[in-house]
Every structure is written in C-alpha cells, then in structure tokens.
C-alpha cells in the first residue's frame, strides 16, 4: 500500500518546510520587533513608516508577495540574494517574502504586548530618569515578550501553514511534492492523508507546547 512512496523524498520535502519556517520565523521576529519599536517611538516619521508598512503588507495576499519575489525581483530586476543555482535562489526569495509578510503580524503582536504593560510602570521608569530606549529595553519589552508568547505562537503556526505558498515559485517543500505525487500516482486519498497528518504533526504540538509556555511565563497581574 505504501510502496509508491519509495520514489519520493517525503521527509526531505517536510524538512524544507521546517527550514523555511525556522529561517522566516527568526527573520520576521527581528524585523517585526524593530517595526513595533518604530510604531511606538517618539519620532513621527518612524511611526508613520511602521503604520504604513503594516497596513500595506497585511492587506496584500502572501501569494502575490511570493510570486512577486520570483517574477519581479529575480526575473525582472535580477535580485538573486547572493545565490547561484535556482533552488537556492527560490528558497531565499521565498524566505524573504515570508519575512516581509509575517513581520507585519509579529509587529502587531508585539505592539499588543507593549499595551499590556501597566502605564504606572512606564511612568515610574520615566520618573527615575530612564530614556525612551531604556524604558523600552529594560522595562517594557521584557514584560511584553512574556505576555506575547501566545499571540506569537499563533503567528508561528500561521507561518508554518503559509510556507506551502512557496510552492508557487517552485520551492521543493511539502505542498509542491503533494501536487507532484497527486499527478503521478492514483492514490489521492492516501497521499492527502499523509500530507494532512504531516502538517498536523508540525502545527498541533507547536500550538500545544507554546500555549503551555505562554501560561508558564505570562506575567500574573
């Protein structure tokens, strides 16, 4: 029943999915936090840029962004992100697109975390003479991140599911392999079940584990 699987690198495809997720998660955590810092900063221009970025990027479909990185950035403008072969180029382009998209959601999550820190703490910090970067780094962000584990976990899971979009530019991850297998084999239900279970194995434990972590680290108020 499962012998048709031998011609396919199932684990390899899911490994690419995991890699896409991890690289994009790290990138969008950094860029998203920077965006959130911009959105609460005293400099109006930075606030405006942050707001504009989030509102624009959130409303464009991820598929449009990813296809644009391939058709627009690579094929029209020859941006290859320092890679030579197509596999690496497409992989890096997909990570770039995923980071650009996901950081908008990370930014919103972090910002909502900043809002959970009581005003009194910020006022106290300002009263003892801390500057804005100090207030943010020493008082607000450490608490914000603890309360934001849950929302960030949601973003991470959405990101895991969104990596399938990379199939649109030919990154050899799970969804692309699924399409190929469906075309070549007459085992539709079985193939779909395998990929469904594969994704459940990726997303469900992440959700449960990070949900548990979120409860553990949340600042009790």
């Amino acid at each position: 029943m499962f012998d048709f699987l031998e011609g396919y690198d199932l684990l390899g495809a899911f490994w690419v999915t995991v890699q896409l997720t991890v690289y994009s998660a790290i990138g969008s955590l950094i860029w998203g936090t920077l965006l959130a810092a911009m959105r609460v900063s005293p400099v109006p221009l930075m606030r405006g840029f942050g707001t504009a970025y989030v509102n624009i990027v959130r409303n464009i479909p991820l598929t449009v962004i990813i296809v644009f990185t391939s058709l627009g950035l690579f094929q029209t403008l020859n941006v290859s992100l320092g890679a030579d072969d197509f596999t690496t180029i497409n992989f890096r382009l997909a990570v770039l697109g995923l980071i650009a998209y996901t950081s908008a959601f990370v930014c919103e999550a972090v910002r909502s975390g900043i809002n959970t820190v009581p005003i009194g703490q910020v006022e106290a910090a300002r009263a003892i003479g801390l500057s804005f970067p100090q207030v943010l780094r020493l008082i607000v962000l450490p608490q914000a991140f603890r309360s934001v584990v849950g929302p960030l976990a949601n973003v991470l899971i959405a990101l895991t599911k969104n990596t399938t979009v990379a199939a649109a530019i030919g990154v050899a991850e799970a969804a692309l392999l699924m399409r190929e297998m469906i075309e070549n084999e007459a085992q539709l239900i079985l193939i779909s079940a395998i990929f469904a279970v594969g994704f459940i194995c990726l997303t469900l434990p992440t959700g449960l584990f990070l949900g548990w972590v979120a409860k553990k680290v949340a600042v009790k108020r």
């Binding site: 606030r47 598929t63 644009f68 949601n154 469904a196 459940i200």
Partner: protein
C-alpha cells in the same frame, strides 16, 4: 484596547525635540537611500518607462479584458466561500457546545483537523478529487476547488468565531431563557444565536479579508483566473511590464482589504458603544487567534 503610545515618553522638551529631529533626519536619509536604490534598479531595467504604465491609465481594454473579469472571479470565489462556510461554521460551532459528548467530540475533531492544515493542501486535494470523482469541466474546476478549499478551512475557523460569540454572552441570558421554560433548541435559536451573530459581525468581516487573500492561491497553483493570475497575460501583452502589473494588482487588493478592515473596526466600535447590546463583542483581531489549532476560546468568566 489601544492606548496612546505617548505614555512611553515625556512630552519632548527643547533637547528631546532637537534629538528627535536628528533621528527623523537620519531615518529619512536611510529611507531615501532605499527608495533611491529601488528606483535606480527599476530604471536600470527600464521598468519605469511610461509606456509600461500607460495602459493602466489610458487603455480601457486592459481593465475590461484582464483586471475586471479577474477581480470578479476573486470576489465570486470569496463571496461563495463565505456564504457556504458561514452556516457550516455555525452548525459546527454550536455542535462544539453540545451537551452530548460524541457530538461535541466529533465537531471538535473536525474543527481541529481543518484548522491544522494549510489551505493550499485542501485546495490541491479538492482539485484532484473533483477531477477524479466528478465530471465537472476542467474550465470550471479551479473555481470549485478554490471554493471547497476555502470553505473547509474557513468553516472551521468560523465555528470557533461562533463559539466565541456564544460564550461571550452573559450567562444570565441562558438562565433567564431557562427560567421562562424554553428548551435547549429554543434558547439557542431565539436567544443566544441572534445576539451572537451581532457580537461576531466584526470578526466575520475581518475573516473576509483572509478569504479574499487566499483566493490568490488558486491563481498561483490551480490556474484559477483571479487577479494574481492576470499579471502574466498582462505583462505578456503590454511589453513586459511585470512591475507595473504587480503594482496595480497589489493596489487593488490593498484597497479592497483595507476597506473591509476599516469597516470591521468601525462595526466593532459601533457595537461596543451600543447601549442595547449585552456588551459581548468578538473583535476583528480575534480571528488570528481562532485560526490556530489547539487554541481554545476561553469565556471571560472562566466557566465551561
């Protein structure tokens, strides 16, 4: 709960104002450098030439042949998915609150299953299943596949929205209905559901944004002729204007979704202000959370 960001820093004095001005300048320089680099590389590849952008402003055929039919397909798929997913989601959501364990368990399993799987996987499955088990013509198959994929996923998300809406209602509503002798079904249909629907309107509208965005998957992977798919033929017919075509398509998506987002938050503000309601509102931001497998809606008072 949005708070004014200015609590994080004092009202700037003369020195702080000077410093802020300096930061503004630095940021402006950095931003200008990026913009200059983008514009320069665009110009270098000839993507800024007027003829590449002109068709979108002067040639009505590009709209009547490509953009408007594509936009229509996007909207049809989104509307169909929403209309079908909503009742399905309501049934699943109510079933998850059932007193019978097996009904609750089955609905729960279905919802968790479809929330944990990427929409694209569902669409690919639907597409292949349609070609194998039905005789729907290959031309209309992508639309069916897109709608089926979106319905399966969004019905399970909407089920959580409905559940959250019902749980957000004050317990007193159920108690009062029981006190005047209503049966379980009556309580649900006459008391809880109508109020829950109002409470979850903002979440429903903002879920539409997710659906509209996901239709683009059908264009990229299944050959569904929606907005994203119209980029290729447009740039083939109007002189390799890839960047221009992408820009126009992105702008259409942004305008459409921004309008929906704004409407959702306006609706939320209005409902929160309303004096007649019970104060139960499932906000537009809640959807993201509800779309995550393993997450559960916790009612505000911590009861079941």
């Amino acid at each position: 709960m949005k708070r004014d960001a200015t609590v994080l820093y004092d009202v700037p004095g003369p020195r702080a104002r000077r410093r802020n001005l300096l930061y503004t300048g630095l940021f402006l320089i950095a931003l200008a450098a990026v913009v200059w680099w983008v514009v320069a590389s665009l110009a270098d590849k000839g993507q800024l030439e007027w003829p590449k952008w002109e068709p979108f402003f002067t040639d009505s055929r590009v709209w009547s042949t490509y953009l408007l039919p594509a936009l229509k397909n996007t909207l049809i798929a989104a509307a169909l998915s929403m209309v079908i997913a909503l009742p399905l989601g309501a049934v699943l959501g109510i079933a998850r609150l059932s007193d019978h364990r097996w009904v609750r368990g089955t609905a729960g399993a279905v919802v968790e299953f479809f929330r944990a799987i990427p929409v694209l996987i569902l669409m690919l499955f639907a597409n292949a299943a349609l070609s194998e088990f039905t005789d729907i013509s290959p031309e209309s198959r992508p639309l069916y596949a897109v709608v089926i994929g979106l319905v399966l996923y969004n019905a399970s998300v909407l089920a959580e929205v409905v559940r959250a809406g019902i749980l957000a209602l004050p317990q007193g509503q159920t108690d009062a209905a029981k006190a005047i002798g209503m049966r379980k079904g009556q309580i649900m249909t006459f008391v809880l559901l109508p109020q829950a629907v109002t409470a979850m309107l903002p979440a429903l509208v903002s879920q539409l944004v997710v659906i509209v965005k996901d239709t683009a998957l059908g264009g990229a992977m299944l050959g569904f002729s929606e907005l994203l798919a119209s980029v290729r033929p447009m740039s083939a017919n109007y002189g390799a204007n890839t960047i221009a075509s992408f820009t126009v398509v992105a702008v259409i998506f942004i305008v459409l979704n921004f309008a929906l987002t704004t409407f959702a938050s306006w609706l939320e503000r209005r409902l929160r202000r309303g004096r007649k309601s019970t104060g139960a509102v499932v906000g537009a931001d809640a959807v993201e959370e509800l779309a995550t497998p393993g997450e559960h809606v916790v009612p505000p008072d911590g009861t079941k």
